[in-house]
């Protein structure tokens, strides 16, 4: 596709609910990144995939957060038993290779946990 797309764009969840956020990277991009951006802050790294392999998940804040990219293209970030502190914009980015390559960002999913 022309750019990185994410869905849904907005999600309201009740505390304790599970959510799934989807990212479609730019076609042919090997690397995919998830970031969490709290209000008024810069994005913070969550996890990184090279093709289907999750090479770095050091930024995932708890074991309630899980990401997958089973076929090396679309990725899903799942948050189980959501908490209010999970409210943020979740940004997905992709790059051609991931090493010294520019990352291109999607529009993000704004998650609000009530």
């Amino acid at each position: 596709g022309a750019g990185v797309s994410q869905s849904p764009r907005y999600k309201v969840a009740k505390r304790g609910q599970d959510v799934a956020l989807r990212c479609d990277p730019i076609s042919g991009h090997v690397s995919l990144f998830w970031y969490q951006q709290a209000l008024g802050q810069g994005p913070e790294f969550l996890t990184y995939f090279q093709n289907e392999a999750q090479l770095d998940k050091s930024g995932l804040p708890s074991d309630r957060f899980f990401a997958e990219r089973p076929e090396g293209s679309v990725s899903t970030l799942k948050i189980q038993r959501t908490q209010q502190e999970d409210s943020a914009v979740y940004l997905c980015a992709s790059s051609f290779q991931g090493w010294s390559e520019t990352q291109y960002f999607g529009p993000g999913t704004r998650l609000l946990v009530l």
């Binding site: 008024g40 810069g42 994005p43 090279q50 990352q103």
Partner: protein
């Protein structure tokens, strides 16, 4: 732990003014520094800087990196209302996948 500090946190200028945004960093095994512009949606890429002293330019925007003093500046000349956005600085570390560490951003508002 890698650290990126941007200043000022916010800035209001009049259309036509020139602005300079600052980014200082501490990172192990520095590879590159990137600038992004974020309006109410995806951060859009502006510049990637890897070498000291070489200015990168795109229209009214320019940026330069000083690897000795560990900072970068982003200049915008003849500002327009469309330049209003948050400008994010990020650093990339060598030796691992390109895991960007971002600053908190500078919020720029350009008024008529």
């Amino acid at each position: 732990e890698d650290k990126v500090v941007q200043s000022p946190l916010s800035l209001v200028v009049h259309e036509g003014d020139t602005v300079t945004l600052n980014c200082s960093y501490e990172v192990t095994n520095f590879r590159s520094l990137l600038w992004y512009k974020q309006e109410k949606k995806a951060p859009t890429f502006l510049f990637m800087l890897t070498s000291s002293g070489i200015e990168k330019k795109s229209g009214r925007l320019s940026s330069i990196l000083d690897k000795k003093e560990l900072f970068s500046i982003l200049n915008i000349t003849a500002t327009q209302t469309g330049d209003s956005a948050v400008y994010l600085c990020a650093v990339d570390r060598a030796g691992t996948a390109s895991k960007l560490t971002f600053g908190t951003g500078t919020r720029l508002q350009v008024t008529l």
